[in-house]
Every structure is written in structure tokens, then in C-alpha cells.
Subunit: 344 residues, 4 copies
């Protein structure tokens, strides 16, 4: 049985464990105030080409709830597309810290700047505005939940709308490593400074054991931020475990290579499926593929492979998701194609 | 420079990294629903000698806030001693999830059952009870913040008071490994089933990279618990990283050996200090020592050792804390004593 | 200038002030524990024909947030139609107490039992259910935000779905007085015992100065409820002010007469508008009318009348809302029709 | 049976009902955006001699929780004395909106500026400050829970400490009317502008049916405040009911006369008790008296009078509280003294 279920089904990239092994017998200060965290931050700052504030946080949901609760006042809300991770897969974490998520229908997994603008306009034109939550933040993820990516232009438009309405743009980069080599991508780490107020560079889904690197571009959001991390339980006593992992990820281009590796396989698989005239729910962009297969084929494949059923298409056909990661074994991809050929 | 500052200043026990290395190339299901978590739970269940519900959570503050917010209704409160970790060192995490902490003066770091009983009595005798929060849970830690431990009798008394008033007893075992070989300890893992409703077996401070194992004894508290962990961000995508660590900690008696190792050193150090007539703030019980030294001596020691200043005694003397852990280097302890002799 | 803007633009029904005047020089116990509150509860219990638990709360948003936060666990959510008051007009009050609102498209202002059932089914069939909020309550209002009403059959279907999934049905009766004489109504106070778990009988919009009467049918929801009211600030020190008002409203059929008065005027106005071939956005059901007028007519009418613009129909036409209440002056309704005739 | 239990046991001052009667048949805009609220604000602004922002809120606990949750960030805390209303009599309302209350031992019901300063100092000198809540607000009430009052000097000292540490001073004036004529008072409405950042002028306990007038002096705290009131349920649909009451209270010196009336009776009663050598728990300052009586006398008095037992003194003696208000009947006070004489 081989799993294409997600991009977090193996421990971590070997370099990461190797580096943790190297730290054996070294003593560190607690709570992220250590040399190795500093070193990791320096490496990231070099990649992002600015000196934004950086924090390492234990996980993605934690990062989202800490960022959002730290920035918003109780009556302020965050705009997300309906398929946004905070809206559907975090068990109401954002509402649990007190904030409404204003949802807009997703457009290929993304938020559209014009639609977002309308939310702001409607609110500020409403003479009873105070009877409704005040939109103050826009949440997006890149790549999105379905693996699509934002262009630089799209991000700029969203950011401009936010600035026009004195709101913040927050980007969830849980899978950021897989964006750089995605189809038609034109946004790189150095660009985010001028495109979002705050974002995180994902570790968990991009080769780390766990952990995310939060980057705060907007100076207004920096003050006292560590209090927030501590209060919500996101500050690791052994912060250097997080620092070490990001130190490794940003050494020798590892973070980029992890993304490239997965995208290359995904691209190969996508081409091969095309040759076999397999229908796709949407065109492959990054490390996720959405295939439409008949249910009999799916049952056969499931004998040897695990993957998520994504969407029922009709009585006989279902879209499935194949998720490729830094850890995917190429040979298993070849085998998958062979097995598919046998079934078809 | 050698640090006696805390018990979380090194990565982890070598066995833990070794085992993580062994998991390379193995695929696991996400969110703690994997074989290795199951195996770790089985091992813990063998030690606790019952089949309580077990969950692995990313950190101590997270565990505390998840447990407390999951169990209490909005108007219910938790009783803690004033020095309790939730009261002083978690940046208001419990209040942030909506609950008041009713504090009692600590008695050698501990809560006294009679004092706790009075809180319940006063509340339920108050004809305007509903104008005040309802005490519904008692929070203790074992070992306590200052390294003392509860006897079985003391725990039983607290538990009985809780049961009398239909409340829950929650034990924070962040340093539980260091309790078993503590001076005069008579409480072991197998005893907790009948002494507390819910507790956690600490990993972070007891040799793991990070993570805690929550044990829910009281069946009323089990239902839907994973929703709570997920909502607060305590559920790791790669739950098997936590499972693997506890699997290692509960193989070959490692968890007990870690505690014994630290306690043995602490006992040795305590004896040696006694020989030198060094005054102690309180008698050594587990892995923490509280020495009273004159400030000049402290300044000298600080050239080669880091440790926490715990309490000002008078203009010339200060109590300092030395924290011994699974990772403490014995040779450094000998050196510390030699250096101390040179100064004195 | 005469206002048809809402049903809370005048102090209160004269009987209410008269009765408050009668209480001058009488001393009462505080916080609703007085004779007059008891008397008011007895009168309500006679009307609802059962001995449900009753509480008087200072306002509608308060009642909603107290009920919902009291009943739901942190990870549980409430289902509402998109136009529900808690979803659009309470500034995120429900999210501020920690709960997600799962929204369904409204069907003539109402929730449909089949649609609600699907939400439960989808959740409980989801193998990753704990990654999403758990639906545990259904929120409806009767009459709805647009003045439509639920039939007994519709309520029973919703209630049955709730019971099937161990969830609660909560009915917001801010305008309940206007439901009894609404077109085709077949639900009366005595029926609610077997149709909802908890509901409130609105005072503020039905002739009182302020205040709502919460009725808890489901015994599981009764315990400790006053703690919740007190904690959220909904418990009036002078609770007897609320008790007195409901005592008056439920004396001499006043509550029903208030509703009948408004519905009669609304019916008359509806008929007259029909005679004039004025298009309606929807058929009049209770005390609210939604007329479609051309913008020039609206501008003319606004010289003498205030009302809410409800919805833009096209470039030239807009739907407006006329709200009739216990306090509406019939003569002003005649004048309005005359003025309309002059314009048309 | 006559009650000296509290100052909220009768409806309201007759002028208030009279004025509400005068408003019959007048239509108002909703949610406090009406002429009468404006008029009331103007009257208050004349008394406070500045143009601070003013809001009318439905009750005291609501006001406290709205103010505190609006101002503080999640990790910030409010300092209160242990006897503070928010700490003991609001069922954890402040914790329920997420904030820790840092308590200091009260000094005659009051907070001492030096003690408060130490809290700030300790926090900002702590190198692990972010592991603890950040003190950002000081909460006091005037008169205090036991009827004592702050001098102008004491308030200034507290305010200066707050300003030194960039914190806010909030004054709960639930009984403010009773402060002006209190023994040795030197603080008047016009003084508060330069003494506190925000405070409220109590209505409920000072002659109104219900409601409080919040005054925001500090301009940084004004923005978007109505969102907060609405979200927490403190904004009355019929805001004019609140406006009308404060309009009346600030017409013809009524607010001051209410306070003077109660203080005069309290002074008279205090003198008479002194003549009889009745021991007092503390000297009478405003409208509350704390008498120490033997238990037999208390039992006798309770046949005709209700009052609160405040504190057990010894096996035979108890301190009781007599609360005088705008509504206290002087004849009943004479009778009380006569009855006391008969018993003694």
C-alpha cells in the first residue's frame, strides 16, 4: 500500500534529522531566544531580502489563530474564500478566538480582489455598519487548498484593496515550497514584502517534522507579538527545535529543492495521465492532481494505493486527489501508472 | 558556560532521535491516527495499568488550555495555588479561553485539600452563588513548580473533595518523570487512575523533543475530545512524531531512567552542598535545588554557569535554582562544586 | 415626518408605564428573585400551558448570545439561515462567544428541515469530522426577518431532525406577538413546548420598553442558567422592571392584542396597496410589508415618511419595508395611502 | 418589613417615569441615535465641563465587560483590588471575554498607587515578561464596594502611574451620585477629565430604572466603540429609554440631589448610632453603613428589616450593612432607631 493522501505522511527530510543529531549535547536558551533560531531567521531574511520580524510557531492552525486573534479587535472579521483552510478544516478555531469569517465563493480556490472590494464597500456604505462585523483582514493561502497559485498581479490587487480600506492581507503558506516551481508562477520569497502584511512559510507540509515560520512585514503588527504566541500555546519551550529545522530548510536551497522535486513528479504524472486521456477536475498547477476516474477503477487502485476521494462527479465517476511531496517515491509513481494501465 | 537553568535546554534523549531515524521512509496516517501512536498508547496503558483514553498534544500550555476549556462551562472556574503554572507562566492562557482561576496560597508549592474544600463550601453556601464563578475543577502539578511532590494521601484527599463537590481533579505532569524517585514519593503511574480525573505525562521536560501525553481517566470527559485538540491547534498533522517519542520513552524503562538519572544527581549535589553548609530555601525533593548564596558568590558562579535567580532573601543573599535533567553532565556538577569551593 | 421604519420607535404600551407607576414605593428583591417576576412567570406558564423554566433578559442580542454560549461546547456550532439575525445583525456576537454559525440559504426567510438534515448527515458521515465544527443547534426566528412564519408542520420537521441528531432547536421570538394573527398561522404559545427546546417571547419589539422572556423547555438546558445570564451582563439588578413588563403584557390578553392590532393594520394596508396594483416583493404575512416602488415615488414619500430601503430591484425600482407595530397610528396609514395616490 | 439591603430595590425616581410618560406618542430613531440621547449627552457634557465621548449602556456588568474587552489586547490584563466588583461579583465576566484580573489587596476598599506601580515595575523588569500577562489597565470604583471614596490626590497618583506605564485608568461609577456629598470628598464631575481615561456615571443604583452613562475621555479609546456595545448586547434598540433617563437625572440637579438625600440620611443615622455607642466596622463615608451588632439584636431586627450580613466578627457579633438610597423612607429610619433602642 502506497499513500498519495497528503504531503505530511513521513517524518522529515533526512537533512533535518541529521542536523538535529548534530545539536546533541549543545545547550540552548528556551522559547526561541537562542542562537540557532537567530541563525535561521538570518537565513530566511536573506531569502526574503528584507529584515521583517520572524517567529517560529508549532503548527499551522496555531499560526492562523494566533495571527488573526492578535491583529483583530473583537468586532473585526477576516474575509476568506469558502474553501479557505480556516473556514473548513480548523474546527472553528478562528471563531473560538472570537472572530467571524466572512466568506466569498472561491474562484479556482482563490479570492478575487473585486469581490473583496465589494465587501469593504458594502460595509463602509452601510449606515448601520456597527450592527455588522467590520472587515479588517483578508486571508488567502498560496498555493490554495486545491493547489492553484496567485499571480503577482492578483496578490498586488488584493493588497491594494486591503490598503485602500486600512485592512491587512495575511497569506497562509502551509505549502509555500510547492508554489515556486508551480505552473506559471511569478511570485518568489523576495516579492512578499510588498504584497502581504504577514505570511507564513510552511514547514510541516514542506519537509519539516513540524513548525511554521511566520514573517511579519507590517511594522504595526510586530509589537508584543511573542505574548500572543505564548498565550495560545504556540511557543515551544525548546524553540531551537524549530529554529534548527528552518535553518536546515534554508541551507543549500533545500526548501526550493523540496518544492521542485514534488512539482517535477507532479508534472510528469500529469503529462502521463494526459497521454492516457484521463480527465482532470482542474489543470495541475503545483503538487496536487485531481483526476476523474470511474468508480470501478478507483476501487481497483485502492487495493494498492491510498488517496482522498475529493468530489462525486456523477453516479459512476469520482474525482480523486493525488498529493505529491518532497518524500514521494518516484518508483511508486511509475508503478501507479502501470497499475492504472492494467486496469484501464 | 554550563547551564543549570532548566530541564529543556537540549534536544532530546538519543534514543528518541534514533527511533525517528528508523521511521524514515515509512508512511503514516495523519493527525495521530496511526499505528505508532496506537503502539505508544498501548505501552502507556501497560504502565498505568488501565485503559484510559490517551491523546498526544504538542505542548504543555496547549494541553492545559485544551483540557480546561474542554471541561468547564463558561461560568465555571478552576482552583489553583498561586504559584501554579497556569496562574503565573502561561500569559493568561486560561483566561483567554474564558475561565477564571481561583487562587489559594501555596503550601510548599501545593494545594491543601482543606483549603480547597472551603472554596467549595463558601460557594455553595452563598445564596448569591450565581454572582460568582462556580468552582468545578482543581489544578495541581506534580512535581510542583518548586519540585515538591504530593503524597498518595494528599492526592486522595484532594480527589475526595472534588468528588464530594462534583468537580474534577486535573494534574499537570510536565515533570512527572522526576517524581517517581523523588524523596519519599509513594505515587506511581498505576496509582493515578484512582487519584485524578485527568492528567498528563510530560514529554518536553522529560527527554522528548516536545509533546505531552494526556490521560483521561474519567469517562465523562472523553467524548469528542479530539475536536477540542484540533480547534486549539494542539493536533499535529504528523501525530506520529509525538507517538514515536512516547513509544521510545516507554520502551526499556526510559521514562523512569530519565527521572532516576536526574534525581540521583540532584541527591548527590544536595548532599555535597549540605556538607559545605550551604543553606537551602527548601529541602531538595526532586530535580530542582534552591540554594541560598551571597550575591558575590553568585556573581562569581555566573561567570561559568547559568541558572535562575529565584528569590531575593536579603540585601546580601539570594536564592538560586539549579535544575538537573536527563541531560545534565555529571562532570559539570563536579566542576560546579569545585568552583564553588574555590569561591567560598 | 412619520416613521414606518421599525417596531421599536416608541416607548411602550401605556399599560406598561401605568403598571410601573403602580410599583412606586414598593421594595423588591434584586436580580429577578422577586414576587412580580414570579407572578409574570406564572402568567406566561398559563399561556404556554406547561411549567417550563423562564428567565427575563435585558435584550435580544444578549438573549441569543447567552442561550447559544450556554448550551454549546467550544467546538459545537449553530445552524442558521443566511438572513438570520445572529448571522447578519449582531456584529458577530455569536462568534465573539466562540461559535461558528453554519449558514444555509434562506427559503422565504426560513430554514428547511431537509437542508438542515444534510448538514448533520454530511458532518457525521465525514471520517475527518473533528476537523470541522460539530452542528449541535438550529437557530430560527418566528416571524422571520422578513415577516414570514413557520407552520406547525415545518417546526415539527426541524425539531425532529434536531432530535434525530441529538441537537437543539432554538427559536428567536423577537416579534412573536406578530405571529399569532399572521396569515395562515397555526402555531400558538401552547404549541411550543413540543416544537422547540428553547425560545424567547419578545418584549422590545412587541410593546415593552425593553426585555425578553426566555422559555427553556428542555430540562437538560435548565441547570445553572442564571450563572450564564449574570456573566454576560443580561441580569438586571432591578429584575422586577422586566417582570412587571411581562406581567402587564400577559394581563388582559395585551400581548395578543398588540399583535392583532399591528396585523390588522398591515392587512388593511396590504389590501389597499393591492387595489392600487402596487407590486410586492413578497406577500404580506405579518407586520412587515415589502413594496416595490419606482425611485421617484420613493423620493416623494420620503418627504413625509421614513422607512427602510430593503433591496434594489433595478435601476428605477427599489423595494422598501413598511413596519407596522402596536404603536402605529391608523390615521397616518390613511394619510400615507392618500399621499401615495397623489404621487401615483 | 423594610429593606436596607441595597440601593436598587425600587423602580426609579418619580421624575424619570414622568418624563417617560411625556415621550408617549413620540417616535425616535433606534439604537441611541436619537435627539433625546443627544440632549442627555449635552447635559452631561455641561456637568463634566468637556466634550468627551458618551454612550448609554444597559447595565453595569455589561459596561465593565464592554470597556475592558474593547480596550485590552488578548494578552493584556486589568489590575483591580481583591474586593473589586469585576473580581468578585460578575461571575467571571471579564475572564469570559478573555482577560486576567491581577488582584491587589484592597486598602479600605481602594487601590494604592504605589502597589499598582510595583505591578508594572515587576512586569517590565521581568526578562520573561511575555510569559505573564501584561498589565495595561487599572480598574477602580468610586465610591468603592464598601462606600469609601478616593481623594483627588489618590486618583491623580493612580492616573500618573498609568500614564507612566502607558496604561489606562478606568473608574466604575455605579454609585457615583453618592460620592459628591461623601465625607471629605473633593472630586466632582468636572475633575474626571484629567483623572481617568474612561469612567461611567451610574444610573441603576442612583435612581434610574436601569442604565449607565459611559464617558470616554481618552481619544485613543473612542474609535469604533459602538461596534463593541452592539456586539456584547449592551446597545438597546430603544436607546432613547436610556437617553431619557439620563436627561432627567441631569435636569434640575436631580443626580446630585439623589446623592445628597441618601448621604444626609446616612449621616444622620451614623450620628444616631454613634450616640448609642454602636460599633462600626469602618467609619461611614457615603451611603453605606457597616454596624457591628450582637447576633441576638440582629435576629430581632430581622423581624422587621432586611439587610445584608457583611462579615462575622466573632461568635457573638456580626457586621451588617445598611444601604441608604434616593428611595429610602426617612420615617423607616426613625422607626429602625426606635426598634433598636427597644432591643438594646
Amino acid at each position: 500500500m502506497y499513500s498519495f493522501k497528503n504531503d505530511y505522511n513521513q517524518t522529515c527530510h533526512p537533512n533535518i534529522l541529521k542536523e538535529l543529531k548534530n545539536l546533541e549535547n549543545i545547550q540552548f536558551d528556551g522559547y526561541g531566544l537562542d542562537d540557532i533560531c537567530d541563525k535561521a531567521k538570518e537565513k530566511i531574511r536573506k531569502e526574503i531580502e528584507n529584515d521583517s520580524d520572524i517567529h517560529f510557531i508549532a503548527g499551522g492552525t496555531l499560526t492562523n489563530l494566533i495571527v488573526i486573534s492578535s491583529i483583530l479587535r473583537p468586532y473585526e472579521a477576516v474575509i476568506s474564500c469558502d474553501s479557505g483552510h480556516i473556514n473548513v478544516h480548523e474546527t472553528g478555531a478562528i471563531e473560538a478566538v472570537g472572530h467571524k469569517i466572512i466568506t466569498l465563493k472561491n474562484d479556482d480556490g482563490k479570492l478575487n480582489a473585486n469581490e473583496v472590494k465589494k465587501v469593504f464597500e458594502n460595509h463602509f456604505n452601510d449606515e448601520n455598519a456597527e450592527h455588522t462585523v467590520k472587515p479588517k483582514m483578508v486571508y488567502i493561502s498560496n498555493p490554495t487548498e486545491i493547489g492553484t497559485i496567485y499571480t503577482k498581479k492578483e496578490l498586488k490587487e488584493l493588497y491594494d484593496v486591503c490598503k485602500e480600506y486600512d485592512a491587512y492581507l495575511y497569506l497562509d503558506g502551509a505549502r509555500l515550497a510547492y508554489s515556486f516551481e508551480a505552473v506559471n508562477n511569478d511570485v518568489y520569497l523576495k516579492d512578499y514584502k510588498n504584497l502581504v502584511d504577514v505570511y507564513y512559510i510552511g514547514g510541516t507540509k514542506c519537509g519539516a517534522l513540524f513548525g511554521e515560520a511566520l514573517v511579519i512585514n507590517n511594522e504595526k503588527l510586530i509589537k508584543d507579538f511573542r505574548y500572543n504566541i505564548k498565550q495560545r500555546g504556540g511557543m515551544l519551550a525548546k524553540g531551537f527545535i524549530l529554529g534548527s529545522q528552518f535553518n536546515t530548510l534554508f541551507s543549500n536551497n533545500l526548501y526550493y529543492e523540496i518544492g521542485k522535486y514534488a512539482n517535477d513528479i507532479a508534472a510528469y504524472l500529469s503529462e502521463e495521465l494526459e497521454k492516457r486521456n484521463i480527465k482532470m477536475l482542474s489543470k495541475r498547477v503545483s503538487n496536487q492532481l485531481f483526476l476523474i476516474l470511474d468508480n470501478k477503477t478507483i476501487t481497483e487502485l485502492r487495493k494498492n494505493y491510498s488517496f482522498e476521494k475529493w468530489q462525486v462527479i456523477d453516479d459512476n465517476n469520482t474525482a480523486i486527489r493525488l498529493c505529491i511531496s518532497w518524500a514521494t517515491d518516484k518508483d511508486k509513481v511509475y508503478e501507479f501508472l502501470e497499475d492504472l494501465d492494467k486496469i484501464l
